[in-house]
């Protein structure tokens, strides 16, 4: 006797869904609901009295507008840099490298993911020290100097960290390209460059978007790299981190900014099918 497909689907989805709803969505809800509450100004405890002051503070203080813009600039820069490096690399690995060496190449791209976020960023910190760092040592004979700590350093560091997350989905997307399509394009007289921009990129666009979801989201919320490489530079993640213990309602209000940006982004890329490429 067959149970209805709907019942089977329900029983499969129920446990994971319950986990996500209760633990994840539930805790997010509990967090964001505090944004309409107050705190005791002395003990920092949350008081359940309605107030819109937190939102007013976030919206009216120019500083938070500035930090949002700066965070967006960093996130977009990181995404672009990662894409510019990842697309040629993924293309090479997926279509030009010999099939036997592909797993090796991918493994080489993925291995840094295991090398501890903190250690990698600290390595960049020592490389970027203004006078004594490795980068300075390397390029000062050429007349250059380390950019020091600040927004540029943060962009470099974050691009470095998230590059594998961009390479993977794009590689998967390019690997799936049927050879027939490429051959057809060549048969029709297109030079490789034209094929690349006219055929390959559009088809793998969802995969590129998928990679961008990672780089964008990971950059929007980062605060650790900013603390280590940023000097006095701050991003939205730092604002949330600084305030969450002393003023949770305010931190929750600020946290809504990156969340809303990401939800808008996710909603707008849904049509491209990127979400199937993660």
């Amino acid at each position: 006797m067959q149970r209805s497909p709907k019942a089977r689907a329900a029983s499969l989805i129920s446990l994971p869904l319950a986990w996500l709803l209760i633990i994840y969505i539930g805790s997010l809800f509990a967090l964001f609901i505090t944004s309409i509450w107050k705190i005791d100004t002395f003990t920092s405890e949350v008081i359940r009295e309605f107030t819109l002051q937190n939102f007013i503070d976030v919206v009216t203080d120019r500083a938070y507008f500035n930090v949002t813009i700066r965070t967006l600039i960093v996130a977009i820069s990181v995404t672009l840099i990662c894409a510019l490096i990842a697309i040629p690399m993924a293309f090479f690995m997926a279509r030009i490298a010999r099939p036997k060496s592909r797993p090796v190449l991918i493994a080489l791209v993925l291995t840094p993911l295991w090398a501890s976020y903190l250690v990698k960023i600290y390595a960049w910190r020592t490389m970027l020290y203004p006078d004594t760092g490795f980068l300075n040592w390397l390029i000062s004979p050429l007349g250059g100097s380390s950019p020091g700590f600040g927004m540029i350093a943060v962009i470099i560091g974050l691009s470095y960290l998230w590059l594998p997350y961009m390479v993977l989905p794009i590689y998967a997307g390019m690997e799936k390209l049927p050879n027939s399509v490429l051959d057809a394009s060549a048969d029709l007289g297109a030079k490789p460059g034209r094929t690349f921009f006219g055929v390959v990129l559009p088809i793998t666009w969802p995969a590129i978007i998928a990679g961008s979801i990672f780089t964008f989201s990971l950059s929007m919320g980062d605060y650790i790299t900013v603390q280590i490489l940023g000097g006095t530079f701050q991003m939205l993640g730092n604002v949330v981190y600084q305030n969450f213990s002393l003023n949770l309602p305010f931190a929750a209000a600020v946290a809504l900014i990156p969340v809303m940006i990401m939800i808008i982004y996710l909603g707008s890329v849904r049509k491209t099918g990127a979400l199937d490429n993660l």
């Binding site: 090479f92 291995t111 250690v119 760092g133 981190y241 990156p258």
Partner: protein, 262 residues
Amino acid sequence: MKLSRAAKRTLLAIMAIGFTFIYLPLLLVVINSFNTNKSFAWPPTGFTTEWWSKAAVNEGIRDAVMRSFFTALIATTIALILGSFAAAAITRYDFFGRDTISLLFVLPIALPGVVTGIALNNVFTNFFGKLTFFTIVIGHATFCIVVVFNNVAARYRRLGVNLQEASMDLGANRFTTFRLVTFPLIKNALIAGGLLAFGLSFDEIIVTTFTAGAGQTTLPIWIFQNLFRPNQAPIVNVVAAALILISILPIYLSQRLTADKG
């Protein structure tokens, strides 16, 4: 696709630059793990294996590695079960709200980690009263589920339903079909997803700082605490270098496994 030699060479050059970019800092880490100078000024002043021997006997590292290992193990196990269930449900059935639920499964990795962290911290400290080992596991399992889900869902999508239907037409019941037909086909996706989830959990710092209880030191937390301390920093480099070397094999294997199919 036929490419001119110039184009191939350019691509090769980009590959080389890309890999240099990726591995240069890691190389510095490895070099510094042998550096006699503790402050990592460049160039290094001397060679020593002192840090490696110190790291080998350091109890703090051992505890941290064990804790991270078990956290990742439990989180990945939960994720494998829940993630594959969800993947099966969403890719093979059509039901009310499927697309919304599908979007839901992207959120844990699409929304910034700091938000997840403070949300969980808020609930745990008010609900449980304090943070413990299990609060870490719960936090990790949440995004591990998503990672496994993505891998297995991708596999299911490429699979289609034909093989299962054929199996059942031939008389096998649902469970036998799963055991003999479906599972072998998704096995590699499970392994790849599981390995990725394990790796992410092992290295997770952003959410973990918010969900780890007093004295619950995972490896990333241990690294965070010791990274800048002058006497400990070289040992941290040793740990990082060791992690890199140890991880190459499992990653390669998982790539071989997923590359074979589809």
